[in-house]
Symmetry: C2
Subunit: 109 residues, 2 copies
């Protein structure tokens, strides 16, 4: 139980959470649940500029959420592990339950 390591884990955990703390990046993760997508595909489907998408993807890659592989001139991004998407889903559930409790949501999304 080395205290420095514990602190380091909290730090990394915070960086990961922070990288999840942006709507567009959550949408990217949501989209990648369905499978690998190229930068252009994501920019298109999420209505992002190419450079914005690329920067979000680079960040998510840096924090260990995504991996990338190149096929020709196209770069495909994928979730490193479905556990990330699961964690996002569980947070999403908390939000949805809260909305339901406050009668701000009637049907399941």
């Amino acid at each position: 139980m080395d205290n420095d390591i514990v602190m380091e884990v909290f730090q990394l955990q915070a960086e990961l959470c922070k990288s999840l703390g942006e709507p567009k990046r959550l949408m990217i993760i949501h989209e990648l649940r369905k499978g690998a997508r190229s930068v252009g595909q994501l920019a298109g489907s999420l209505n992002l500029k190419q450079c914005t998408a690329s920067q979000h993807l680079a960040l998510l890659r840096k924090t260990g959420v995504l991996s990338a592989h190149r096929e020709g001139s196209t770069v495909y991004y994928s979730l490193i592990t479905p556990k990330i998407a699961d964690a996002c889903d569980s947070i999403r559930e908390i939000i949805i339950e809260k909305l339901k409790r406050n009668h701000l949501l009637t049907s399941v999304i």
Copy 2:
């Protein structure tokens, strides 16, 4: 499947994740797993200034992570639901597994 509501959920989800994206706040959540704690207790055990602790707690309260109740002049904070701590744990697991894969961690924390 109202698109505005979907976007709203992503927004709220991002705000929640962002509020988890700070090491001190993760430590607060970790500490509160054990039960309710006062501002002063948390400031003491996590080595935070009183006002810093109070601000972090206010933010976590605003994003729906924590609830507060007063007993006399003391305010106790608690996790709204253990699901939050569970989500944090699952993210923590992802970090720890990654450290292990990279041989940066030998024993379980």
